[in-house]
């Protein structure tokens, strides 16, 4: 038993963090709210150059042949910076199956997450349904744009037309689990970032002649959020390991990860806003970029309630 990442995994994570700190600053996310694509192209190019997009692709297809366990920390980083890119759909779902390669990206929709994101600038469109996986080039698909509270998330309802399934239901299941895992990891990063921003803020902001971070109420809010995150992370890492080893209970493990990371991000967002006060309630403060991404991802790929119900079925229904 050894429940910790390797030095190499941490080092790669750190390298990606450094690159994203330069290419996906809050200003870049704001830019994505306003540009035509909702995306951050230099961050995407950098991730491609570092090999992140191809990490899970098989080596025979020019990929690195790595596993969910190797990429989970990277995905956490993409949450930390609110990366406005379909990294989960591309690196975790489409690239490993050969549905995209190079710098191309993919958009995925499914019953629990019925809108594709950034679909209009993706090369491939993937839908996961009860009878299997459908994949089509973007040009052959009809898109209807919808608007998200997160201005960087360009949402689209997808009409695949008469495309037939190209992969069986087992692929649907694997793709779904990978999507849930990736989203969980991003939520961890978002939660961590919101707590960090808030800690920085309450150490500086003064009211009543003292830093507001000295008030016990503020301390306890943040301690609760940090504790919730502390007990969310391990379940996401464990779910990554379960997927990597094709554990028979992987489905349950990713559900647990999503429950815990959704709730952790939800609490972090509430606490962050409350401790920022009115300043956090303006879009001039960066907090909202992370908070709104959290609101969206908490409910994407199955909300906490939905996954709890899935677990309840295995624990209770089979009496």
């Amino acid at each position: 038993m050894r429940f910790e990442f390797s030095q190499e995994q941490f080092q790669f994570r750190d390298a990606v963090r450094d690159v994203l700190a330069k290419t996906c600053q809050p200003g870049d996310v704001r830019e994505a709210w306003n540009n035509q694509t909702g995306r951050a192209p230099s961050a995407w190019a950098a991730l491609h150059d570092m090999g992140v997009l191809a990490m899970l692709a098989p080596t025979e297809a020019g990929g690195l042949g790595l596993t969910e366990l190797d990429i989970v920390l990277i995905l956490e980083e993409t949450g930390r910076c609110a990366l406005p890119e379909p990294i989960v759909e591309t690196a975790l779902i489409a690239a490993p199956e050969g549905w995209v390669n190079g710098t191309d990206s993919a958009s995925v929709s499914l019953p629990e997450s019925p809108f594709g994101v950034w679909t209009d600038t993706c090369a491939s469109v993937v839908t996961l349904t009860a009878d299997g996986v459908r994949v089509a080039p973007r040009e052959s698909v009809r898109l209807t744009q919808r608007e998200s509270v997160d201005g960087a998330r360009r949402l689209f309802a997808i009409d695949m037309g008469s495309t037939a399934p190209i992969a069986p239901v087992t692929s649907t299941a694997l793709a779904f689990r990978r999507g849930v895992l990736g989203t969980s990891a991003q939520l961890l990063g978002l939660a961590d970032r919101m707590i960090e921003m808030t800690v920085d803020y309450v150490k500086e902001r003064e009211q009543f002649g003292v830093k507001i971070g000295t008030f016990q109420a503020v301390k306890h809010h943040l301690a609760n959020a940090r504790t919730k995150l502390e007990f969310a992370r391990p379940l996401t890492y464990r779910a990554a390991a379960s997927l990597a080893s094709r554990d028979a209970l992987a489905s349950q493990h990713v559900s647990m990860a999503k429950v815990q990371s959704s709730d952790a991000a939800s609490l972090a967002a509430r606490v962050a806003l409350q401790c920022h006060g009115a300043i956090g309630y303006t879009t001039e403060c960066d907090l909202h970029l992370f908070m709104k991404r959290s609101w969206a991802l908490e409910r994407a790929w199955g909300a906490a309630n939905w996954h709890r119900r899935m677990i309840a079925q295995s624990l209770f229904e089979r009496l």
Partner: protein, 393 residues
């Protein structure tokens, strides 16, 4: 104890309901926190005023109907049940007006209130400053006496001014004895402010809209550079602004800002949303249903708690620190109500177009509740110290 409304009250309810059924705009108006939306809302306010529904509890010679507190509550219940527009005039009619009734001269009341009732004057609140939010006594914007001109000259900055980008007037606190504050002594901090009423369309005033969480320009920063205010726009005594303002923050937390009708209506709509989701093929979720029931019970609890308060006010009691419990309760209830809607909507919750968009907007709006009008952390201190009598230090 008598839990029935009188015949005339029921009559009033019917009239209000009928009028609203006919007149409430359909589809709903766009947000009042944008310039075009604000203009549409002012039309609605004018319509309310013309029907004498804009300020029902005011004296009839000032634009109201002399309605009792009970009738006011009935009006509010019907208003929100009818899904009528948010009141863009609310900071004037619910926060400033009670203060003018209490501290204003008869002349000020006659001069200011009718135009407020009609929406000709719209009022925003100038409390917070960049370094004085929860700690209101920490303001530094100041007013200097200009005796020869018969008034005062204002300088400084206010911020998080709701609808400041659209309103014609601002009411707020300015320091009139800066040296008392600089000395830092607590009494000095509180007893050196004056409550001013300021026309915004004049030289020296700069208003910069600030985007709220939902992307509307719902806030503003207001800058004052040598802005003149005549003596007859001082509310209450010079240097007595703090106690005058406290009367206003009392209203803000207490009865008037968020009447129970609002939450009863939201709870109703949440129940309907839940039924619709089931009717359109969603699974029945006992757990969510239970939480919706609890939110509905809480809205009822707020209604009946208010009925008790109103009974005592009618008997002549004053409202006290209990209003902090009221603010805690409705602000947290509002967040729970909207969260439940988002939970029902699942992956559709993030949409800000289409049929459900108003729920996300309402959630964003609700999130302000635990922050403004004194953060809930401050309210809990107040409840502990003034209701329960715990020691300050």
């Amino acid at each position: 104890m008598d839990l029935t409304f009188s015949e005339s009250e029921e009559q009033f309810r019917s009239e209000v309901r009928e009028w609203l059924t006919v007149n409430v705009p359909k589809p709903a108006l766009p947000s009042g926190d944008t310039a075009p939306g604000f203009a549409l809302h002012l039309e609605w306010e004018r319509k309310l005023f013309d029907a004498r529904y804009s300020v029902v509890s005011w004296p009839s010679d000032l634009g109201g109907r002399d309605a009792t507190l009970w009738e006011w509550l009935i009006f509010e219940e019907e208003y929100w049940l009818a899904n009528a527009p948010q009141r863009v005039t609310q900071n004037g009619i619910f926060l400033l007006a009670p203060t003018i009734f209490e501290f204003g001269t008869a002349e000020q009341q006659r001069r200011l209130l009718p135009k407020m009732a009609s929406g000709e004057h719209t009022w925003c609140q100038g409390w917070s400053e960049p370094n004085a939010g929860s700690d209101l006594a920490g303001i530094s914007s100041r007013a200097v006496r200009d005796a020869s001109a018969g008034g005062w000259r204002l300088a400084g900055q206010k911020t998080w001014t709701t609808r400041g980008a659209f309103c014609t007037h601002l009411f707020g606190l300015f320091r009139t004895e800066p040296e008392a504050a600089a000395s830092g002594s607590r009494p000095g901090r509180h007893h050196s402010m004056t409550y001013f009423l300021v026309e915004l369309d004049q030289p020296g005033v700069t208003v910069r809209g600030v985007e709220r969480l939902d992307g509307d320009l719902g806030f503003a920063e207001v800058f004052f550079d040598d802005v003149f205010v005549p003596d007859d726009m001082v509310l209450g005594g010079v240097n007595e602004g703090w106690s005058v303002a406290m009367a206003t923050t009392g209203s803000e937390r207490g009865l008037t800002l968020r009447s129970p009708g609002r939450f009863l209506a939201t709870a109703q709509r949440l129940i309907e949303l839940c039924k619709e989701r089931i009717a359109s093929g969603g699974a029945r979720d006992q757990a969510v249903q239970d939480r919706i029931v609890q939110a509905w019970i809480d809205a009822e609890a707020y209604r009946w708690q208010t009925f008790g308060t109103v009974t005592r006010l009618v008997d002549g009691a004053k409202s006290g620190a209990e209003s902090s419990m009221v603010k805690l309760f409705w602000s947290e209830l509002d967040v729970r109500l909207q969260e439940l809607a988002l939970e029902l909507l699942g992956p559709h919750a993030e949409l800000i177009d289409g049929d459900f968009a108003h729920w996300m907007k309402a959630y964003e709006f609700a999130l302000a509740g635990p922050i403004y009008a004194g953060t809930n952390e401050i309210q809990r201190n107040v409840v502990a110290e003034r209701v329960l009598g715990l020691p300050r230090k």
